[in-house]
């Protein structure tokens, strides 16, 4: 009983608190870098696409709104197409969590309104940005075992040069 009355009082007192919301769009709110807004595909520090078309984001997506197709150039895997249907996306960020390469990232931009739904289907060209996004230093191919142009076999982090099979040494 007393609790209930106290609750009522406390709630009523909130009338005199500062507003937590702002008058968007005149006032822009502060959105932290990890805010879950429009999705982008980032690039490696060397400027190449980060996405290796592993499909993990697609399978993690609870609404199944990502689809892509793998292709390969010089041993580097990349998506031939990469499509997100933002009219389905719920901005849960699961895709970003699933991504092993930090390629897919959610950004603090949420102003994506469109009058026609088809405009919410983003292709790779629409998603790809030119920078590294939130993770400036990571490059998947530096840790993966497969060689790419500019990185010989056995030259990844924590790797020894390839074995010489003809060596008789133990």
């Amino acid at each position: 009983m007393f609790n209930t009355l106290r609750t009522l009082l406390l709630t009523a007192l909130h009338a005199f608190h500062r507003r937590a919301t702002v008058q968007y769009p005149e006032q822009q709110p502060y959105l932290p870098p990890r805010y879950r807004g429009r999705i982008v595909l980032s690039r490696d520090p060397d400027g190449e696409e980060r996405c290796v078309a592993c499909n993990l984001c697609a399978v993690a997506c609870p609404v199944d709104c990502i689809s892509l197709q793998k292709t390969e150039t010089d041993g580097r895997w990349r998506p031939e197409y990469f499509r997100i249907n933002f009219s389905r996306c719920i901005f849960c960020g699961f895709c970003e969590e699933a991504c092993p390469t930090y390629a897919i990232q959610l950004t603090p931009d949420f102003e994506m309104g469109e009058y026609a739904r088809p405009n919410l289907v983003y292709e790779k060209e629409d998603l790809l940005i030119s920078g590294t996004g939130k993770y400036p230093d990571y490059s998947f191919y530096n840790v993966a075992g497969i060689p790419i142009p500019g990185k010989e076999r056995g030259a990844s982090e924590r790797e020894r040069p390839p074995i010489d099979l003809h060596s008789l040494l133990p």
Binding site: C61, D64, S87, V121, A144, E159
Partner: protein, 911 residues
């Protein structure tokens, strides 16, 4: 039946297996790597460690390798024992020490046994802080991709490739943790079964190269049970598709046929489906131009043609039974041709007759593996029926199994049995004109012309059963040889005789059937197997029809006004001159096919038909097993199943001309099959090759995607952002999406992919079998149409032996006998449209007896003109014969034939 106790739970099990198998059969999750149901155990990986207790009082137990420990009565074991658990976790941690950080870019990912096992053991954090060893990869040819860093040294690959498949160009190199699995140098893997490394290797070292180019994770693909269309063995496959394109073909376990292994032609031959030669829209010849037209247009055009006179239909042995039958129903039996030459048709029909008349067994491929004496007459099975060849290769091991049984070594103890097998003689006898891949495991090989082989065959039959006709004027050598082989066969418990129509020789097949029948006198289990050329050769032999020669006659007489050619490249059967005649004599040619054939450019109408991956149908393999294939792809509108096209043609006709066969009323595949069963009682059981389209599990259709399939709301959003209902077909019990039932005991004919909780790789198959390596839990896939049960070969009811024994072959001075050189990659029609197979096939050469090779090139004069070909010596090839690649030099199959060879210096005498 014995019982063992696994973690306090009593599990009935079998006594002749090992504990790993027993645990898996009991449904337990026990990780393993080096054991494989088909390869047995070697105990190399140490991953399957469990605790075994000596009795109920034993609290301590000891760690044993489950795969190396036989099941013993009342054995008490524990998988969950902490010590065993730690042991396994340790093993996998060591294995992962050098494993690259590759999963996202690894084709094995999502169906990786190593991933599964790592998760199963709970290893999730890397403690090892030092550097990883790396390896260079090799280019292993167009089929298999190599990524050695991912190897965990389980030795499965080399055991499969060398021990099981008989290859010699893959080996283990180097030592300790540097051990390397590859070839001595870069180069194409030469074995016909190299593609199986993809499934055998538990990691991503060997992956499917053509699939990598169109790669998709397993969870995203639609699967459908299918049947290989590249030879008459009828291996079961799974076709995987995404975005309505076929991505790959995988092995589908059929306990009787292919079991765990598929040949490379079957695995990589599907490329014709997405090849540029594919027909995708109806084409109509308008002013000599082939113009794409809408379906309605094409049908009106056909209706117009039909009013002009007689319609004759030609099918082919590569078309599904339903397609053949629907054309039969459209044109009527008297205008229905099988699309084979008289020779081909006689051979296939003879094969059917011989098999139905055979008094003994008609063994399945799996039964062939346990034949303890095998005789192959005049058939290079490794090229014409590769998977059958592999089964024969396994049969050679029977002796070592018997020795092992005597030595009380379990058969799955692979290394030990193979060591014992080193001393066991082979009992495989090969009589062929040219060398075969099985020669290296044969007890004895004999090279002769087909007629001479047939003579020897009759002699063997006579040596076994004196009621068989004798062969006169046999050389003493041959007589002795015949007696030797007869003895070897008669000493066996389960002899098998194999032949086929590779050399187009009916007498050869008759000789073979005679031997098999003669053996039945004393050994009722004696088996006969005859190899046919195409995936539905047997089905067509049972359907019957006119040979192409009759059609030619009718055409020349001007009796045919419309010719409907379904899935047949006539140039592979008729000489070019004949085809030209046909084109000239028949005003309207309608070609219904999926791939552009030379005839298409002369056709008035070309209709696009669905391939095996896009439609549903039935094929009858060479042992008379009807098997259903299901669609994984839903092709865009004008492309449809053959029988639906023919039905559309029938419906387009003037109602007065409608066939009375009910063709136009069939609503789905089941009705087509029911009509087939009515018309051809012999083929009636084919209805039961798989459950009907209204089959449901718990009221639900069967799903054809994994429950994790992704991209549902986006994959077609570039077409329309609205959600599309998944495509559906009235012909299958499958839903095309992830909705529906899926369980390990679903019917064997309806398993669209293998996956069970915790088992995402193909090894999930273990859960679908009632016992490992045994039948599927949901029952067999396909149904046998032939049963030789009522035949006998006894005094009272003797077998009617063939008596037309051919004369010996005498080499001629001015001509040669041209024999077909059937090639695994190159001779089969459809696979040659598949880029990897084309890359793997080699240019045609002329095989000459080693003694006769003169210059580097020679000219062979065939009916269609001279062919200048490089020459290759073939050791053992009989004098006076040459080997000419089938369908690669002259397109038509016309063997054997006599031809002139220019540059041949010396006709030679027969040695």
């Amino acid at each position: 039946m014995t019982t063992i106790r696994i973690d306090g739970r009593d599990c009935p099990t079998r006594s002749d297996i090992n504990l790993l198998q027993a645990c898996l059969e009991a449904g337990a999750n026990l990780p393993y790597f080096c054991w494989h149901p088909e390869l047995g155990s070697v105990g190399a990986c140490r991953q399957c460690a469990i605790k075994q207790f000596s009795g109920p009082e034993d609290r301590k137990g000891r760690i044993v390798m489950a795969c190396m420990t036989p099941v013993s009565e009342n054995a008490i074991i524990s998988i969950d024992d902490p010590e065993a658990r730690d042991f396994r976790a340790g093993v996998i941690e060591w294995m992962m020490v050098n494993h690259p950080h590759d999963c996202p870019v690894c084709e094995e990912g999502s169906e990786c046994h190593l991933q599964d096992m790592t998760v199963m053991t709970g290893h999730n954090t890397r403690r090892y802080r030092f550097t990883k060893r790396t390896h260079r990869n090799q280019d292993l040819g167009p089929f298999v991709k190599h990524e050695m860093n991912r190897c965990i040294a389980c030795y499965r690959c080399v055991r499969f490739y060398r021990d099981y498949a008989g290859g010699d160009d893959l080996a283990a190199f180097a030592s300790h943790d540097n051990v390397y699995f590859g070839r001595a140098e870069d180069g194409t893997l030469r074995n016909a079964f190299s593609g199986n490394l993809v499934e055998i290797c538990p990691t991503g070292v060997f992956t499917d190269k053509p699939f990598s180019a169109v790669y998709t994770r397993k969870w995203d693909m639609r699967g459908a049970p299918s049947v290989c269309v590249h030879c008459a063995v009828g291996c079961n496959t799974i076709v995987n598709a995404r975005e309505e394109t076929l991505r790959r073909v995988l092995n589908r376990y059929n306990t009787d046929i292919n079991r765990y292994v598929l040949c490379d032609r079957g695995r990589f031959g599907h490329g014709f489906i997405n090849a540029p030669t594919r027909i995708r829209t109806p084409l109509r010849a308008i002013d000599g131009q082939q113009v794409p037209v809408p379906m309605a247009d094409a049908l009106t055009a056909f209706a117009r043609m039909a009013t002009q006179g007689r319609i004759v239909g030609i099918v082919s042995p590569r078309a599904a039974l339903e397609t053949c039958f629907s054309l039969h129903a459209l044109v009527g039996p008297e205008h229905f041709s099988t699309g084979q030459t008289r020779q081909e048709q006689e051979c296939t029909e003879l094969a059917h007759t011989l098999l139905t008349r055979h008094p003994g067994a008609l063994p399945t491929l799996h039964e062939m593996e346990s034949a303890d004496a095998v005789l192959v007459l005049g058939e290079d099975v490794c090229a014409t029926a590769p998977r059958l060849g592999l089964s024969l290769r396994q049969s050679v091991r029977q002796a070592s199994f018997h020795t092992a049984d005597n030595a009380k070594v379990p058969r799955w103890m692979d290394a030990a049995v193979r060591t014992l097998g080193g001393e066991c003689p082979s009992n495989l006898h090969i009589l062929t004109p040219a060398p075969t891949d099985l020669d290296n495991v044969a007890a004895e090989t004999f090279r002769a012309a087909p007629d001479d082989i047939a003579r020897l065959g009759f002699a063997i039959a006579y040596a076994i059963d004196p009621f068989a006709p004798p062969v006169t004027d046999l050389t003493p050598d041959d007589a002795a040889h015949a007696a030797r082989i007869a003895q070897a066969l008669m000493a066996a418990r389960k002899p098998l005789v194999v032949s086929g129509m590779q050399y187009g020789s009916p007498t050869l097949m008759q000789a073979t059937a005679s031997i098999a029948a003669a053996l039945v006198r004393t050994i009722p289990a004696a088996g006969l197997s005859l190899v046919l050329p195409e995936c539905n050769s047997m089905g067509l032999a049972m359907l019957g029809g006119l040979p192409l020669e009759t059609v030619m006659e009718q055409a020349r007489a001007g009796e045919i006004s419309t010719l409907v050619v379904v899935e047949n490249d006539l140039t592979r059967h008729l000489d070019l001159a004949d085809v030209a005649d046909l084109v000239a004599a028949v005003p309207n040619i309608v070609v219904i096919d999926h791939t552009m054939t030379p005839l298409c450019q002369h056709a008035s109408l070309v209709l696009p038909i669905a391939t095996f991956s896009e439609s549903n149908g039935t094929l009858v393999n060479q042992e008379g097993r009807a098997q259903r294939f299901f669609q994984a792809v839903f092709p865009p509108a004008p492309i449809q199943a053959g029988w639906r096209w023919i039905q559309a043609l029938a419906r387009s006709l003037d109602p007065s001309m409608h066939p009375i066969t009910g063709l136009i009323d069939w609503r789905d595949l089941d009705e087509a099959l029911a009509a087939l069963a009515m018309a051809f009682p012999d083929l009636a059981p084919a209805v039961m090759a798989a459950p009907e389209a209204d089959y449901r599990i718990n009221g639900e259709k069967l799903r054809s995607q994994t429950y994790r399939a992704s991209g549902r709301t986006v994959i077609r959003s570039f077409v329309s952002v609205r959600d599309q209902p998944p495509p559906a077909s009235p012909d299958t019990p499958f839903s095309s999406s992830m909705e529906g039932a899926y369980e390990p005991d679903m019917p064997g004919a309806l398993v669209p992919y293998y996956q069970t909780p915790a088992w995402n790789s193909v090894q999930a198959l273990n859960r679908f079998q009632s016992e490992i390596g045994g039948p599927m839990r949901g029952g067999p896939s396909g149904i046998r149409l032939l049963s030789p049960a009522e035949n006998q070969n006894t005094e009272a009811q003797p077998y009617a032996y063939a008596t037309d024994i051919p004369a010996p072959y005498i080499p001629q001075a001015d001509t040669v006998l041209v024999l077909p050189d059937t090639r695994l990659f190159g001779s089969e029609e459809l696979s040659m449209f598949s880029p990897p197979i084309t890359a793997r096939s080699s240019a045609p050469t002329l095989g000459l007896p080693a003694s006769a090779t003169g210059s580097g090139r020679m000219v062979l004069h065939l009916e269609d003109g001279p062919h200048d070909l490089p020459v290759e010596p073939v050791p053992g090839l009989p004098e006076g014969t040459v080997l000419c690649p089938t369908h690669m030099v002259a397109r038509a199959f016309r063997f054997p034939r006599i031809a002139r060879l220019e540059g041949l210096t010396d006709g030679g005498e027969r040695p």
